[in-house]
């Protein structure tokens, strides 16, 4: 379970440009973080990952504290063990799909890393992409590699920042199935950021809605299947 209780202000030229004040917990399922653009969804993800630092508050994942302003604790990004799927995927452009996944694989030795990468490629049925570099892949293919790369590091939580915004509608449904499949397999919290209503309706055992930096809705679904 992830608990986030943080405040962060962005100041520009002395004026408070945007401030975020959120308080929520996320289950070990898929939590959809929805809201219009500018609501602070990506900021929340970046705070959890440690890319940004909150002004006040606490961020905890199970028994591990990521951030605690009271105790001056701020775990470095490298030690938080989060899998981050970027909106633009941020696949390393000079590495092949296999090398991208192997890069962060949590296992010693180059051949073991590559073996792990191939295992994940097989799991997602994308072995044929093995030797391609990102420029030679479609958006949907890059998205799969990005998810596989995040999982290879054996994260304790996966953060997805509008992962399907660059993918066509037909591919989208299939990729959502794969994200659900990955979550069911790993049983760790997935935080899924989207501004797309259709995606939000289709995914998640919990829905959190943000507006101008504040949580305006937080719903937990006991039995997701009955809703669909």
């Amino acid at each position: 379970m992830l608990t986030v209780k943080v405040k962060k202000s962005f100041v520009k030229k002395g004026f408070r440009e945007f401030s975020l004040d959120v308080d929520f917990s996320a289950n070990d399922g898929i939590t959809v973080l929805a809201g219009a653009s500018g609501a602070g969804k990506t900021t929340v993800l970046r705070l959890i990952a440690g890319i940004l630092t909150p002004d006040y508050g606490t961020i905890k994942l199970d028994s591990q504290t990521f951030f605690d302003s009271e105790n001056d604790l701020n775990l470095p990004i490298q030690e938080r063990n989060v899998g981050f799927v970027f909106q633009d995927y941020a696949l390393f452009p000079h590495l092949t799909a296999e090398q991208n996944i192997a890069y962060g694989a949590k296992i010693e030795g180059k051949s073991a890393k590559l073996a792990k990468a191939r295992e994940l490629l097989t799991l997602f049925h994308i072995e044929h992409l093995k030797d391609r570099i990102p420029a030679e892949m479609s958006g949907g293919e890059q998205q799969r590699i990005a998810l596989a790369r995040a999982l290879a590091s054996e994260p304790k939580i996966v953060l997805l920042d509008e992962p399907l915004s660059a993918v066509d509608v037909e591919t989208r449904a299939k990729l959502m199935d794969e994200i659900e499949f990955a979550q069911t397999r790993t049983k760790i919290p997935f935080i899924y950021v989207t501004h797309n209503e259709a995606e939000a309706a289709r995914l998640g055992s919990q829905h959190i809605k943000l507006r101008t930096g504040i949580v305006i809705k937080d719903e937990v679904f006991e039995n997701r299947e009955s809703l669909v």
């Binding site: 990004i77 490298q78 390393f92 452009p93 962060g104 420029a135 790369r149 590091s153």
Partner: protein, 220 residues
């Protein structure tokens, strides 16, 4: 004269370019990625040799590294050796004048790397140094190579600052540009011509390589 000047130039330029490569990259990374007090000043000071007359740069090198200089005096008292009138002095001159070219070219290309690639690497558990080596460096390599070639060419053509700190001693500190000057001054047209042709050929090659690298198409 030609052969010894050629050998000396090569020695000086290879050593100075190697140091410029490492130091220039370190400074470029520091300036591109970190905010610290005095950053603008550091950047300005390192860029100065690009705009200063080389003899002025050379003058400061004497003030700093000469037998009575701030650093040079200390070194001389300690070891009895000085940068003045040595080929090592020529290396320092070549290094100082070409460093800003390396810093500028590599800083620009380091800054042009999408920061999400580096952040992605951090989330995958990699430290800053490993990320720089495995992600930033390969993605910025075009600008870095261009900086190295420009630095090499600039170091090869260095005249003014070298003359000030290292002098013009044939066989000891007389590099190709200095040898040309002496050949012309003493009416030795043939040697001047040969040296000028060698330097022109190397310069054309440098421009050709720089253009080729900056036009090469990488990673879509």
């Amino acid at each position: 004269m030609i052969w010894s000047a050629f050998q000396l130039s090569l020695l000086v330029v290879i050593i100075s370019t190697a140091i410029v490569g490492v130091a220039g990259l370190a400074f470029a990374y520091l300036i591109a990625k970190f905010e610290f007090p005095g950053k603008e000043l550091l950047d300005a000071v390192l860029t100065m040799p690009l705009v200063l007359p080389p003899t002025v740069t050379g003058y400061y090198l004497i003030v700093l590294l000469g037998r009575n200089g701030f650093i040079g005096g200390f070194v001389y008292d300690l070891t009895g050796w000085s940068f003045a009138f040595t080929w090592q002095g020529a290396v320092i001159a070549a290094f100082i004048v070409s460093l800003p070219l390396m810093i500028r070219a590599s800083r620009a290309s380091i800054e042009s790397v999408n920061p999400n690639y580096e952040i992605a690497s951090y989330t995958l558990g990699k430290g800053k140094f490993e990320t720089f080596l495995k992600i930033t460096l390969p993605l910025a390599k075009r600008g870095i190579f261009a900086g190295l070639i420009l630095s090499f060419a600039r170091a090869l053509g260095e005249f003014g600052a070298t003359l000030m700190i290292a002098g013009n001693i044939p066989g000891k500190t007389q590099t190709m540009p200095l040898a040309i000057y002496e050949a012309v001054a003493s009416g030795d047209d043939k040697n001047a011509q040969i040296l000028a042709l060698i330097l022109t050929a190397i310069s054309i090659l440098a421009v050709y390589l720089t253009n080729k690298i900056s036009r090469s198409h990488i990673y879509g």
